[in-house]
């Protein structure tokens, strides 16, 4: 029995070594154009962009839903759209932004509703890829629980480095690519493109509600305010069909924001858009939708900033 277990142990050790080697290898050509690499430019904007700064934090809802040039022209601020993809999770997005906050920054955080009803915030394959494909220095931003959850994706990422297809089939996606973002960090290559057929989202089960992330947002606000910044919470733009299928979930989240004393701008309903303004998911707007959503955000910000001034 001892001999048997010794062999199992040695075999497992070899497997672990190969996985670690895979993780340490550079990103394959196939993923080197992935949207995750956009975070490099976005981080440099966070680091170097001049004041007054308007920092937008969220998931792809925000990257596919904002025209930063309009924000700049209307509010006379320098917008930085930091959003990449929602599955990076609230905790990571906030911790990453937190490092770069400067005095006087206006931060608009737009959490997507599903964040509060699933576990993706606790570690996803995209987060793991951000660590190992894009670059390692972010490892301090990841919590132990996120590391644990990301373990399941290690074989996929590590062994993909040895996958022939990752080197043969290298085709840059027109919409989901590092080059799909404009200077401010908005996805713009889909502007003017034909709508892609998609299904509305199903009802969100309220039983899965996880209020723990509200605490993370409150902590973030406190830290940002201590640094002299102001944080506003806004709502994601959503297709009407999907929104009304889970209106109770959206209202539950909004109520939690109000109850926590967060600075909320607008209402969930203001960011509900007709199907004709969507692009390829119930969270991604087309150009017409992007402009309307940006206008509404400008109105909300003006109203709030006007009051606070």
């Amino acid at each position: 029995m001892k001999k048997f277990f010794t062999k199992i142990f040695i075999f497992s050790g070899i497997v672990v070594i190969v996985l670690i080697a895979g993780l340490l290898l550079p990103a394959t050509p196939k993923v080197s154009h992935s949207i995750l690499f956009a975070s490099l430019h976005k981080d440099s904007l966070l680091l170097y962009e001049r004041e007054p700064r308007l920092i937008l934090v969220g998931g792809s809802n925000l990257s596919f839903g904002i025209n930063s040039q309009m924000l700049k022209d209307s509010l006379q601020m320098n917008p930085i759209n930091t959003s990449v993809i929602g599955t990076l999770g609230i905790e990571y997005m906030l911790k990453n932004t937190q490092q770069y906050i400067k005095k006087g920054d206006i931060i608009v955080f737009v959490p997507e509703y599903p964040y509060f009803f699933n576990q993706d915030n606790q570690g996803s394959v995209e987060l793991l890829r951000t660590l190992f494909d894009v670059g390692m220095p972010k490892y301090k931003l990841i919590s132990p629980i996120q590391y644990c959850r990301m373990l399941q994706y290690v074989p996929k990422l590590a062994l993909s480095r040895f996958d022939l297809m990752e080197y043969i089939r290298v085709q840059e996606d027109e919409i989901y690519s590092v080059n799909s973002f404009n200077y401010y960090g908005d996805t713009y290559t889909h502007w003017g493109k034909e709508r892609v057929k998609f299904d509305a989202w199903p009802h969100i089960n309220l039983k899965d509600y996880n209020p723990a992330f509200i605490e993370s947002i409150i902590d973030f606000c406190k830290t940002a305010e201590a640094k002299g910044a102001t944080v506003f919470i806004s709502f994601p733009a959503e297709q009407d069909l999907s929104y009304y299928a889970s209106e109770d979930a959206a209202k539950m989240v909004a109520m939690a924001f109000y109850d926590s004393g967060l600075k909320v701008i607008g209402t969930p309903e203001r960011y509900v858009f007709p199907d004709s303004m969507m692009f390829n998911t119930p969270y991604h707007l087309n150009k017409q939708g992007v402009d309307l959503r940006t206008e509404r955000l400008i109105e909300d910000l003006r109203e709030t900033l006007g009051k606070s001034n």
């Binding site: 048997f4 199992i8 075999f11 070899i14 996929k156 062994l159």
Partner: protein
């Protein structure tokens, strides 16, 4: 619970450790652990199906005892008949009642009646086709006086529920398994190592070959109407490879897990795609089911008849029933009929073929042997179109298009590059199996006794390739094809 999931790995690790370190004092404790683990495994997906399974097992346990105790021949027969009716009745009810209702409804509608028959909302107990056959063979063999009934209820229930085999077999016979359950198992290093190798080989076949074939096959079968005949030929061949890799992969894992627990489970596949005739194919493919049908359907039907036409008819009937056992749908019945016809042809030409081989000295002729292997494979693959198609209509549509003029046109399905890359795995798999065709499984003796680094590197490549393939599905492990039967 699927063997290729992390849940199963944890489950089995716990069972393995408890089995060899805590419950290893006596046979009863080992069997109790296996029984508890098997019931947990069985009810993991749906607890509701467990009572049906337990009650059925207990009924057959009792029937075995009363058949054996009964001195009156008529009573023995009545108890056996009751058991057969009970087992088959449950199988027909759970698995086939909706098929009969919808078929009857369609028939009435074609006759002009307005049939408004509703199908039943039934949960089909997992593995019902497999455990029913295991239980039926138990009481039939007791009735035939082949062996005495099990007195140890824990041992019997463990035999029926044994978790490596409960969902898709092999359909182990009681006389093979019950004596093993009656003995205390002592850890056997060689057996355990062989088990690990077999699990690894099965995992590779399932996770790499079958799971990579699956989307290509689905794509071809779902869009056959717009594809060239050459694409459909590739689809049929890939499906044959997928089915074999999936099911033999599952079986290798089941047998390997059994070995880790100290059991020797019946061999279910003997490299069927290296068969040189259709009759030979059925001696090598799904052996435990084929022998079951032979022992309990074909031989009793043939009885003492000496008429060749009657033997042939019985063989066709046996395979039609086998087709019906496999799946709910007329396409499975047709698949069974196809198998029956070809096996009858194969058996009837066997003598003249042997004479022909002897006359032309072809027995050891490699070209002739490979021609025979490829011809058998082609016949098998063609038949599997009925097996894979969603319905009779789809299978006829597929076959009609297969014989269209586009046979010489290049394939036009999505995934040609993937198919070529898949050959990187398929070809070595068949080479390995060819080299190991005299062993229990493909890699049983491959590199054994040779350079340890070479052997371990080979195992690592197999494992890591399988692990990568599994990781691509993001935790949504693909079920084994035979789970639905």
């Amino acid at each position: 619970m699927i063997f290729t999931t992390i849940n199963f790995v944890f489950f089995f690790a716990v069972v393995f450790c408890l089995y060899w370190f805590v419950f290893n004092r006596n046979t009863m404790l080992q069997n109790l652990l296996l029984l508890g683990a098997s019931y947990f495994f069985y009810s993991f997906a749906n607890l509701k199906i467990l009572p049906i399974f337990v009650i059925t097992s207990l009924v057959f346990y009792w029937l075995g005892i009363v058949i054996s105790k009964s001195r009156n021949k008529r009573n023995r027969f009545l108890y056996e008949l009751a058991g057969i009716l009970f087992g088959l009745g449950a199988l027909l009810y759970f698995k086939y009642s909706n098929f009969f209702i919808s078929s009857f409804s369609e028939l009435l509608e074609t006759m002009g009646f307005n049939a408004n028959l509703h199908t039943l909302k039934i949960i089909v107990p997992l593995g019902i086709s497999f455990y029913t056959f295991r239980l039926l063979s138990y009481i039939i063999d007791i009735y035939r006086g082949k062996y005495e009934p099990a007195r140890d209820i824990v041992g019997f229930l463990t035999y029926v529920a044994f978790f490596p085999c409960i969902l898709s077999g092999p359909i182990d016979r009681p006389d093979a398994m019950l004596p093993q359950l009656a003995k205390k198992r002592v850890f056997d290093y060689q057996l355990a190592v062989s088990g690990m190798r077999q699990i690894l080989w099965g995992l590779f076949k399932k996770a790499v070959i079958a799971d990579f074939c699956n989307p290509l096959v689905n794509n071809i079968f779902n869009n056959y109407g717009s594809l060239t005949a050459s694409s459909l030929v590739i689809g049929a061949v890939l499906y044959a490879i997928e089915l074999y890799s999936d099911f033999s992969g599952y079986t290798d894992m089941a047998v390997g897990i059994g070995k880790l627990l100290g059991f020797r489970i019946a061999k279910n596949f003997n490299y069927p795609y290296f068969a040189t005739s259709f009759a030979d194919y059925w001696k090598r493919n799904h052996i435990s089911l084929t022998t079951w049908f032979m022992d309990y359907i074909y031989y009793p039907l043939v009885d003492k008849s000496d008429k060749l036409w009657y033997w042939n008819l019985c063989m066709i009937i046996t395979f039609i029933l086998s087709g019906f056992w496999h799946g709910v749908g007329w396409n499975f019945v047709l698949w069974g009929l196809y198998q029956g016809i070809f096996i009858v042809i194969s058996m009837n030409i066997q003598k003249s073929r042997k004479r022909f081989e002897k006359k032309h000295n072809l027995k050891n002729n490699a070209v002739y042997q490979w021609f025979a292997i490829l011809l058998t494979f082609a016949i098998v693959s063609f038949g599997l179109i009925f097996f894979r198609a969603d319905s009779l209509q789809t299978s006829f549509g597929y076959i009609a298009r297969l014989f269209s003029s586009s046979l010489l046109s290049p394939p036009n399905y999505m995934g040609k590059l993937e198919t070529l890359l898949l050959l990187i795995f398929i070809i070595p798999m068949f080479i390995v199996e060819w080299k190991g065709r005299n062993d229990d499984f493909g890699i049983e003796k491959l590199f054994v006794g040779k350079n340890v680094i070479l052997r371990w590197s080979f195992y690592c490549v197999l494992f890591l390739t399988a692990l990568y393939s599994l990781s691509l599905s993001d935790g949504a492990a693909k079920e084994f094809i035979y789970f639905k039967f």
